[in-house]
């Protein structure tokens, strides 16, 4: 197992370089040009010279392989470069001022979703066709099909405008600096409440449906049947034997959603005016801000590789029969 993990980690490095290389090419070759986007204003006669200057500043005048090499030699020293946006700020600074909020929101969401979805899934599986099962099924699908902006605006109107209980948008009240320490935290929590509710409601369906379905699947396996035949209490059967084996898809899904922790939902962020990663990335993509896009890509790629490795290792714990390291297929 350890050997397997080590081998995967060693392999991850060339893979990472490969991924960034292919992505770098595609991003640069795709239509669009950061310089043109910054100099297309008709009220100013932006000369060819201004364009040339920006190209040189961004290093876009060099051949593509050279550009990639420059980028790579900087990135190995953890230098993400400077943004192509007119603010010209370091990429790492731009990302690091956005990341904490996004991460905080996403982690809270994920925890709430896990805490709700797994019990919902287990209960509706063990009581298939019961009223509880039917109600939760409709409930989680309603959450899934409801557009984020719909629910967000609805809640903002109700709690923000009509009742005035919660702040509508942003992360902090305008008088935040003047509040006491505890009030500041309370204020912050109040601002996060609606976004978390919106994102959670939409995310419940995923995990709970996987949980339910794989629970249903496991319960009918022979070993569960025999556990039952042995006269073990249903509760014990479920908790000791069934649940653990049903976690396999949950591990997969959680691993797949791990890299998403650093990506924000653009819709939720822009409606609640939260300065998160989603908005930063969308702006970067539209403005062809290559350094920011690549910086984010490196982080996401690293997380993806790690998360899937962790998932593969976790399979072994969920079901000891799984032997990834053992080669030779029969």
């Amino acid at each position: 197992m350890l050997l397997y993990a080590l081998r995967r980690l060693l392999l991850a490095l060339p893979l990472l370089i490969g991924i960034t290389f292919v992505s770098f090419l595609v991003i640069h070759l795709a239509p669009g040009d950061p310089v043109e986007l910054q100099t297309g204003d008709p009220s100013i006669e932006s000369s060819a010279q201004a364009q040339k200057m920006l190209r040189e500043l961004y290093g876009l005048d060099q051949p593509l392989h050279r550009q990639y090499w420059n980028w790579l030699t900087r990135i190995v020293r953890l230098d993400f470069g400077r943004s192509f946006a007119p603010d010209g700020r370091p990429v790492i600074q731009k990302i690091s001022e956005r990341l904490p909020v996004t991460l905080l929101l996403n982690v809270i969401e994920l925890l709430v979703i896990i805490a709700l979805a797994i019990p919902i899934g287990v209960l509706s599986a063990t009581r298939q066709h019961s009223l509880f099962d039917k109600v939760t099924t409709v409930f989680v699908f309603v959450g899934f099909a409801t557009p984020d902006f719909w629910l967000a605006l609805l809640l903002m109107m109700l709690f923000g405008v009509q009742l005035g209980w919660l702040p509508i948008s942003g992360l902090r009240s305008l008088n935040w600096e003047y509040l006491s320490f505890w009030k500041q935290h309370l204020d912050f929590v109040a601002h996060l409440l609606l976004p978390v509710i919106v994102a959670t409601f939409g995310g419940l369906a995923g995990l709970s449906r996987y949980m339910r379905q794989s629970m249903l699947e496991v319960v009918r396996q022979d070993y569960i049947q025999s556990a039952r035949a042995k006269g073990l209490a249903e509760r014990v059967v479920i908790r000791k034997h069934a649940l653990r084996n049903a976690l396999l898809p949950i591990v997969t899904i959680l691993a797949l959603s791990l890299p998403g922790l650093i990506g924000g939902s653009v819709i939720v962020e822009s409606i609640f005016a939260i300065p998160g990663m989603g908005q930063l990335m969308v702006q970067a993509v539209f403005a062809r801000d290559y350094p920011v896009i690549m910086g984010n890509l490196v982080i996401v790629a690293t997380l993806t590789l790690l998360a899937n490795l962790v998932a593969d290792l976790a399979y072994g714990f969920v079901d000891p029969r799984i032997r990834l390291a053992g080669r030779r297929s029969r």
Binding site: L15, G18, I19, V22, S23, V26, I27, L29, A30, P31, T126, Q128, T137, V138, F141, V142, A145, P147, F149, W150, L153, M157, A205, G206, R209, Y210, Q213, L216, E217, V219, R220, I224, Q225, E234, N245, L248, P249, T252, I253, A255, L256, P259, V285, L297, V300, A301, T304, L305, N308, A311, Y315, D319, R321, I322, R323, L324, G326, R327, R328, S329
Partner: protein, 282 residues
């Protein structure tokens, strides 16, 4: 087969789900006959009218009948929802099964492809190929299918990893059954549970992705309606014209629920052991 039908028919919810899916497909097929108004023709004097006898679901920002647009929109939205999810499931099942069953370096290669696809900036790839692609329903379905199979692949592979070590599979090997037969008859049917969920959840996701693709000029172009773009256009007017974003959302919800019931009904009917087990469990 007849046993399958008998069990399926008894599951009234599943039958209802199936009926609704069929009904939706029929609506899509006969859209031009069913739509009371021209779905594309603007009439700015009647913009954002409340639902009424004349316009059952109201009108949109250019005065077009929302009901007619919903009916016509069902064509693209349902096709995209079902077909692209089908494509994704097919690719995901095949690659996931091969990776999980073969293991070793085959598994490694396929899973690293999955990693690459998960990270890959597909937005830019789509932009790059856009020059050669004309937006059509086929390109939309293919694009969504080709970029959303990774989850299914990893789910199926995980199932295979555990199933191939189970007694009944090992036993099949022992009696000399062919690999393909083992996979097809014994492993695959047992690995389908998470795929079913992924497909169910994939349908609304695909329907909404379609309207997202209009970012790239790849989605269905105006004035043609899809549920996704009716919903998006309603965003600006939500306070005065709730129906614009409500009905498309409702249609998507009904589709998912119906498909979910139908799918689970089929699943249960194919597997009588499950009913037995649950029955005994209580």
């Amino acid at each position: 087969m007849s046993a399958f039908w008998r069990t399926f028919r008894k599951n009234r919810l599943a039958v209802a789900g199936g009926a609704i899916v069929v009904l939706l497909v029929l609506v899509a097929v006969f859209a031009p006959l069913l739509a009371p108004w021209d779905p594309h023709r603007p009439d700015v004097k009647r913009m954002l009218e409340d639902p009424s006898g004349r316009h059952l679901l109201g009108t949109d920002q250019l005065g077009r009948d929302v009901l007619s647009r919903m009916i016509h929109g069902a064509r693209v939205s349902l096709a995209v929802g079902f077909v692209s999810v089908g494509i994704a499931a097919l690719i995901g099942i095949v690659l996931g099964a091969v990776a999980g069953y073969k293991g070793g370096s085959t598994d490694g290669a396929i899973m690293r492809l999955v990693d690459l696809m998960l990270v890959f900036p597909s937005f830019f790839l789509l932009l790059a190929v856009l020059a050669f692609l004309r937006p059509s329903i086929w390109t939309i379905m293919t694009v969504i299918g080709l970029t959303s199979w990774m989850r299914v692949a990893r789910l199926v592979r995980a199932e295979f990893l555990t199933l191939k070590e189970r007694e009944f599979v090992l036993w099949s090997h022992a009696i000399g059954a062919s690999g393909f037969r083992i996979v097809w008859r014994h492993i695959l049917p047992n690995a389908m549970a998470p795929v079913l969920v992924a497909m169910t959840l994939g349908i609304p996701a695909a329907i909404l992705t379609e309207s997202g693709l209009s970012f790239l000029g790849l989605g269905v172009q105006p004035p043609y309606a899809t549920w996704g773009n009716i919903l998006n256009e309603g965003k600006d007017a939500i306070e005065i014209a709730w129906w614009l974003s409500f009905y498309p959302g409702l249609a998507i919800l009904v589709t998912v629920l119906a498909y979910n019931l139908f799918g689970e009904g089929i699943r249960d009917a194919l597997d009588p052991r499950l009913r037995q087990a649950m029955g005994r469990g209580r």
